[in-house]
């Protein structure tokens, strides 16, 4: 990437049809994210956090304005190239962990690599590496049902980072976790950010998450209200 930014949105607008009228979910969003950021979108429920993450993650397209993600324009991206972009460069972490229940921890983490036609030995190496990052290498053969919530979310993190993406998008990753587990997974992500220089963008209500953010973007009614860089001890 010759640009100095990873993601850039300009006058981004998202409108949803609501019966006879429309609902403006995002309006005039101009944001730039640089490589290696550890940023969070905060704001009340319905303020547009998920909508913005979905557009940045190429799962949805803007109604107006533009979103440039790693050199591609989301608004003109075909289904196929969007899928390819996600496959190679973007990892997702969700509020509900969304592990596939019939597969083992290992197979869940392996899945994104299967789509890349990677050799078995290479896959195995990357999967075990990712599981080691999140401290679950010994649970590789467990089924998701045998894991705690915190462990499940760590598997989801391993699945998001196994392909070493530039960008990880995490929508309310701690909402279903208790305090201890929340801190644990946030620390894991901080380490990944430091170790692999992965860019993280969160959406959250959670004070515990905000405590780790380097940058906090406040949304309200689909608009950016505040955009602040935070000084944190742990990032020094």
């Amino acid at each position: 990437m010759n640009n100095s930014y990873l993601i850039k949105t300009e006058r981004l607008k998202k409108i949803y049809p609501m019966g006879p009228t429309t609902l403006v979910a995002l309006e005039g969003v101009n944001l730039i994210f640089k490589k290696g950021e550890f940023s969070g979108l905060v704001g009340p429920s319905g303020s547009g956090k998920t909508t913005l993450l979905n557009i940045i993650g190429t799962l949805d397209s803007p109604s107006q304005g533009s979103a440039d993600v790693m050199g591609r324009k989301v608004e003109t991206l075909s289904h196929k190239s969007a899928a390819q972009l996600r496959n190679q460069h973007i990892g997702f972490i969700f509020q509900t962990f969304n592990l596939l229940p019939v597969y083992t921890v290992f197979e869940n983490v392996e899945f994104p690599l299967l789509l890349q036609n990677m050799a078995t030995s290479e896959r195995k190496k990357l999967v075990m590496e990712a599981l080691e990052w999140v401290g679950l290498a010994d649970r590789a053969q467990s089924k998701p049902a045998q894991l705690s919530g915190g462990q499940s979310q760590r598997v989801a993190i391993a699945r998001a980072i196994v392909k070493k993406p530039e960008l990880v998008i995490a929508d309310e990753p701690t909402a279903n976790l208790d305090a201890e587990n929340s801190h644990h997974i946030m620390k894991t992500m901080v380490q990944l950010n430091k170790g692999l220089d992965t860019t993280f963008i969160f959406a959250t209500h959670d004070e515990k998450v905000m405590h780790y953010l380097k940058r906090k973007i406040s949304l309200n009614d689909g608009r950016v209200e505040k955009d602040e860089i935070l000084e944190r001890e742990m990032w020094k």
């Binding site: 799962l59 949805d60 996600r86 496959n87 973007i90 969304n98 019939v102 597969y103 994104p112 789509l115």
Partner: protein, 424 residues
């Protein structure tokens, strides 16, 4: 990837079990019903051919008009000559003459007074000649219940049921009271060699079987026969060939002005089975169509439920970077695995049970007590090459079709919409 999908199918029973069961059931029923119909039809054709009409039948035109009354006065004279001609001209067929006759069978006591008596239908065939196909056609050996095959002139076989009614046993004497070809009354004494049961109600009730020369002698039918039957050497009716032979024969021998000239007819026309066979044919098609349509609809719905349940998984896979088309193709691939598995299982089960019914047969004789039709008492299925594809192919088609239709929903939905299901 295939291995990955396969693991999913095996581990998630709810994903595979219902569709597999549906396919197995549908395929099984199709295969079984097809084999069953097949069996009933071929059995009907066989017994009609063997006991009644042959694959081709020659009678005088006059006889043909009243054939069901066995009018021996209208029988064909000049059998030996005609047989020789037939064997020369149509040597691919086996030709055999028969006489069907009616009368009274009288059983005398020690004083030669009537002990018991009953109306009888007789069939006189060539029992003794080693070239005669009759023993095999009528399956006489297996039909014998007591006694033995007749081996000299003057000996007859009698239907077992009829023998019990008349209270006779092998080595007893029976007197046939009938009329000759020229209308005068005649009596002939026979010795009962054995009793038989063919499993055909119409024949088991009141029939005797004699050698044709005995009846030609008794009924004054020198060189005459009610009919000459032709059979394909492999005993399989071939309509195309039969029609050709009949046409060529009729062109040469049938004389519209002479009611005593011979005419030849084919099995379907002689037996009235033509309409029946057509009906069975369309029934088979209807049954299979119903199965395919029902199965497709059921599997389509199963596919819909399945993919609804799996929106979460599908949304996740899309988020991870799988292409929509790829997701769709893997769903189809899964259904192909299910289809093959289910169809193989269903076909094996259907063929297996049909085969059991082919070997053992079910006895339905109680249903046909009063009938004079040549319906075999035992219904047997028949497994043919068709049995193997009749369920297999529709099974695969309907599974894949059902899933394809169900999967279209994935295409119609927006990615983010599918993805929304994740948040539920």
């Amino acid at each position: 990837m295939i291995k990955f999908l396969f693991k999913g199918l095996i581990r998630d029973r709810s994903r595979s079990l219902f569709p597999v069961l549906t396919v197995v059931t549908g395929v099984f029923l199709s295969v079984f019903l097809y084999s069953y119909l097949n069996g009933v039809v071929s059995q009907m054709i066989n017994s009609t051919a063997h006991y009644q009409t042959g694959h081709l039948r020659i009678m005088t035109q006059a006889y043909a008009q009243e054939a069901d009354q066995n009018p021996i006065d209208l029988a064909f004279i000049g059998v030996d000559n005609l047989l020789q001609t037939l064997n020369e001209k149509y040597h691919q067929m086996l030709w055999t003459p028969r006489i069907k006759f009616g009368g009274l069978l009288d059983i005398p006591d020690e004083n030669k007074e009537t002990k018991t008596q009953g109306p009888v239908i007789g069939m006189a065939v060539n029992l003794f000649s080693e070239f005669s196909p009759e023993r095999k056609l009528l399956n006489i050996k297996d039909a014998i219940i007591s006694g033995r095959m007749p081996n000299k002139t003057g000996e007859i076989l009698i239907a077992d049921e009829f023998a019990k009614k008349l209270k006779v046993a092998p080595s007893d004497t029976a007197t046939l009271i009938s009329s000759t070809m020229f209308g005068s009354m005649t009596m002939a004494n026979f010795k009962i060699a054995g009793t038989v049961r063919f499993g055909i109600a119409a024949m088991d009730r009141a029939a005797i079987f004699t050698d044709i020369s005995d009846i030609q002698f008794a009924l004054d039918m020198q060189d005459a026969a009610s009919e000459i039957l032709g059979f394909f050497a492999d005993d399989i009716y071939n309509d195309e060939q039969a029609t050709l032979i009949a046409a060529s024969f009729n062109k040469e021998f049938k004389n519209p002005d002479d009611p005593f000239s011979p005419r030849m007819g084919t099995l379907p026309n002689e037996s009235g089975l033509a309409d029946y066979l057509n009906m069975v044919g369309s029934m088979a098609i209807i049954i299979i169509t119903i199965f395919v349509v029902t199965m497709s609809i059921v599997l389509w719905n199963a596919g819909l439920m399945g993919s609804l349940r799996r929106y979460g998984e599908i949304g996740l896979r899309l988020a991870i970077g799988e292409d929509k088309g790829h997701v769709y193709r893997t769903l189809i691939l899964e259904s192909v695995m299910i289809a093959i598995f289910g169809s193989v299982l269903g076909t094996l089960a259907g063929v297996g049970i049909a085969y059991l019914m082919q070997v053992h047969g079910l006895d339905f004789s109680f249903l046909f007590k009063k009938t004079s039709m040549m319906i075999p008492n035992e219904l047997r299925a028949r497994v043919t090459f068709g049995s193997f594809i009749i369920g297999f192919v529709p099974g695969i088609i309907s599974t894949v079709l059902g899933t394809s239709i169900a999967g279209v929903g994935i295409y119609k939905r927006q990615t983010s919409q599918l993805f929304k299901e994740l948040e539920v």
